[in-house]
Amino acid sequence: MLHALIDPWREPIDVRALVEVVLLGATGGALGCWILFYRLAYSAESLAHALLPGLVIAALAGAPLVLGGAVGLVVAAIGVALAGRTPAIGSDTAVAVVVTGLLGLGALLALSPATPARLQELLFGDVLGVSDGDLLLAGGLAAIVLVALAVLHPSLLVVGFDRSSAPALGRSALAVDVALGVLVALAILVAVQGLGNLLVVAVLVAPAAAARRLTRRVPTMMAAAVAIAIVAGIAGLYASFYLDTAGGASIAGALVLAYAGAQVVSGVRG
């Protein structure tokens, strides 16, 4: 039994995967609560998908993926913001068109003969392939996101609870929205390495949604979301080790299962 638990962590590469999953879980779980409260799940998914061309171009040029991801995010954010202002076809539709367009462009570039065969890794992540440098970067970004969430906590609460009264309480809803948007972008950059750009949204939405079912206050919900994300992430790594399934997909699957489980538990409790 003990061997079964320890076996997956005998290689340094697997320990790195474990650290990556803990970083992802802490960031995604905590930030996910605010993504839920501010109804940003669709925006987060759009950004995550639309940054693919940036990743592919970075892979083609041999540049660091995180740099490509960052540039891709900025381009995607501008595209989504501009599309959202198109009244003719409705902002949801316009955003969907931009996102699909960028995802398609990324796939087109990735499938060209000049590209190294890494598309799968970009789309679905490579949690077992992270380097020490990747981990340092992910750790730094995760620390920034968590510290910012702690500092902004009272403002996030005020605006999220009652946007119309925020100015009277000395808080700008716009400034808080922008800050949260930047944090979501940073979290996507952290998570895209491990989970890939199609699955990244799982860690940003599922743990918080599960925690919402099980808790009644914001602080307990955030703690529960972090715990669920980390436990599901580790469970995903075990599944990947023993069932020989893809790491990112196993983690995403475990996260969704955690949500289903929370739904059942809250249903039983009434």
Binding site: S155, G160, P167, R171
Partner: protein
């Protein structure tokens, strides 16, 4: 703002030379090129209760946004204290938000804190005291969304008290409340006015407006401002509500209903 937060709460004081707690001088408010409300001139002294009457889109909410400093007037001058407490309709806040009544009251403390600071122990005590003040001391730990409409309204008033607001702006505070809850809120507002706070209440209810100290009628422009006995004439009400007034038979002007009366 530096303030001795541990010390006793200072009595709300008049902030302007004229002795008004809040005032507008020839104010025009607009969203882009579209004028929302113009010609607004009034002054409210500490302790006065003002009914702000008008149809939907008449400019009541827009005026409140100007008084909190959220909206800059395109013309004229707004004189308002730094601390205007806003009590919105509770349906406009997030009822599914996992916060307690105490958490909501504590949000009032944020107005006195720099953006990176958290409310402290003294703020928590204030929030508890404010909830006790509005008669909800026992329900401090209850989830906000699980409270009744009247209780939620009182929690939001507690939030304004924690903010130590000199002026309270309430948006339809009685809509959806049963008579008992409405009476509780009304008595509370009377108390707060007696302490020297100016209270502005946006409402559709003309009959209720008759018991306040002053009435401000808005319909894209300021139609009238003054004591209800002089201000609430049939002519004024017709101009306020665009002529679509229902006069109850035999009520001699005291049973006048604006057209939106039953919407809320």
């Amino acid at each position: 703002m530096s303030e001795d937060r541990a010390g006793p709460v200072p009595a709300p004081a008049a902030r302007t030379a004229s002795g008004a707690a809040v005032a507008c001088e020839e104010v025009v408010l607009a969203y882009g090129a579209r004028t929302a409300v113009g010609g607004v001139t009034f002054a409210v002294r500490p302790g006065e209760r003002v009914a702000v009457l008008g149809p939907n889109g008449g400019g009541k909410t827009t005026l409140f946004r100007a008084l909190t400093g959220e909206l800059e007037p395109v013309a004229g001058r707004v004189v308002a204290p730094a601390r205007c407490g806003v009590v919105p309709q509770t349906e406009r806040s997030r009822l599914d938000f996992p916060v307690s009544a105490l958490d909501v009251a504590l949000m009032g403390a944020v107005s006195r804190l720099a953006w990176w600071r958290w409310p402290g122990r003294a703020d928590r005590e204030r929030a508890r005291a404010a909830l006790a003040r509005v008669g909800l001391g026992e329900l401090a730990g209850e989830t906000f969304g699980a409270l009744s409409g009247g209780q939620r309204q009182r929690v939001l008033i507690a939030r304004a008290l924690v903010q130590d607001a000199d002026v309270l702006l309430l948006d339809e505070p009685f809509s959806g409340l049963d008579t008992r809850s409405a009476e509780l809120v009304m008595a509370l507002l009377d108390d707060l006015a007696a302490e020297g706070r100016a209270i502005l209440i946006a409402t559709h209810d003309v009959d209720q407006a008759r018991v306040w100290d002053l009435v401000l009628c808005l319909n894209r422009v300021q139609v009238a401002f003054g004591p209800p006995a002089e201000t609430l004439t049939l002519a004024t009400l017709e101009r306020t509500y665009g002529g679509a007034i229902v006069e109850l038979p035999g009520a001699a002007g005291h049973g006048v209903l604006p057209p939106h009366h039953h919407d809320h």
